[in-house]
Symmetry: C2
Subunit: 210 residues, 2 copies
Amino acid sequence: TAILAKNDAIAERNRGWFEGRGVLALNFVSSPGAGKTALLEATIKALAGQVVITVIEGDQMTSNDADRIRAAGAAAIQINTGAGCHLEADMVAEAARALDPPPGSLLLIENVGNLVCPAMFDLGEAMKIAVISTTEGEDKPLKYPHMFRAVQIVIINKMDLAPHVGFDEATCRANIRTVNPDAEIICLSAKTGQNLKSWLDRLMELRGTI
Amino acid sequence: TAILAKNDAIAERNRGWFEGRGVLALNFVSSPGAGKTALLEATIKALAGQVVITVIEGDQMTSNDADRIRAAGAAAIQINTGAGCHLEADMVAEAARALDPPPGSLLLIENVGNLVCPAMFDLGEAMKIAVISTTEGEDKPLKYPHMFRAVQIVIINKMDLAPHVGFDEATCRANIRTVNPDAEIICLSAKTGQNLKSWLDRLMELRGTI
Ligand SMILES: Nc1nc2c(ncn2[C@@H]2O[C@H](COP(=O)(O)OP(=O)(O)OP(=O)(O)O)[C@@H](O)[C@H]2O)c(=O)[nH]1
Ligand SMILES: Nc1nc2c(ncn2[C@@H]2O[C@H](COP(=O)(O)OP(=O)(O)OP(=O)(O)O)[C@@H](O)[C@H]2O)c(=O)[nH]1
Ligand SMILES: [Mg+2]
Ligand SMILES: [Mg+2]
Ligand SMILES: [Zn+2]
Ligand SMILES: [Zn+2]
């Protein structure tokens, strides 16, 4: 609570910093392996030349994800949280200043794979975006309601696997709406690119508002 | 740290309680949707009539998992942690006394879906067991080393999907061994029952040691 208050003060300052320089900051959350990095890779490659994208990567250990992001063509900073289970506003403040994102750019933050703790830590983002995959089970929104209530967009990833696992899209959508009636839902495959365009269009629309 | 010390004292008392009454307690951890509940369902059905199994279910919200466990034929208590991201020893102490497991039985604890925080909270179990699925990506052991170091057995689940997603078993095994050279690894499918027998044999072997 004192920890949260301290974090939120720094988050608010980050929020002002991003707004002041016209940068759209987005906080991507999901369970481990739902496809956050794959989505960022696909996004960066599809938007190459159209918009500057910089990335803050959060993981307990390794720079695997930051390496993948750079290979895709965007600048990235990897934060290792060690035993920590979520990024915090002070880590993002430091990384954002090092990345020095230009006006009109996108700063995409990939949080530690965790459907619980990141919900409670504001980083100063314009919005949180959840990624859920067809292989995790349709009940995850009900079981982790704090996270699904904290986001404005839910991306259902790995749609290419949906038939293989008998994914029930209607039930998953209903479960998301139960905990967050206002959340937007986009179904796509980061791997095949199926419906990626809907996400890219929405992203550029959000950028247009900064 | 003071919180952890308090938890660990209660955990030690739980450990003695389980040993005193000859109950094997196991703490199952994984990311959301890796298949912990599916594995417990398959285990309970396969061992019906051979051994008494009771289950402590941990989730932020809902009793979905406890309902599934009861439908499979075992007594279960559902703990809802609310905003909490991991079970704690005092919750387990209370639930275990309510379940009143008999000597020679198995007490299976399904932790909140989270590859980070549960690693730090001893519940008094004989061992932690991680479940990782073929759909999450082979690098999870490297990226969440604290959890993979805290377990004695790693179950690679959803082997039925391995060919569909190009799962690289050799790489996954190597990654597990990098962070935890002593961990046992069992590949199976909770859904199809493929190689479930190896897990059941190991489980009964562990029970034989209490
Ligand atoms: N079939 C399929 N596989 C995918 C898709 N997106 C990601 N994957 C696979 O899922 C696994 C995990 O993908 P990542 O992008 O590493 O997931 P992540 O959410 O970034 O994982 P963490 O950062 O560790 O939490 C990898 O093996 C990917 O190739 C998809 O749309 N379809
Ligand atoms: N194909 C396949 N699907 C599986 C397997 N095991 C589980 N699933 C599916 O994976 C999804 C998640 O399974 P659960 O058993 O709910 O996973 P969990 O780890 O208990 O999830 P949480 O308790 O919410 O963290 C469900 O749709 C299951 O049917 C398996 O071996 N193969
Ligand atoms: Mg990633
Ligand atoms: Mg479960
Ligand atoms: Zn946490
Ligand atoms: Zn935690």
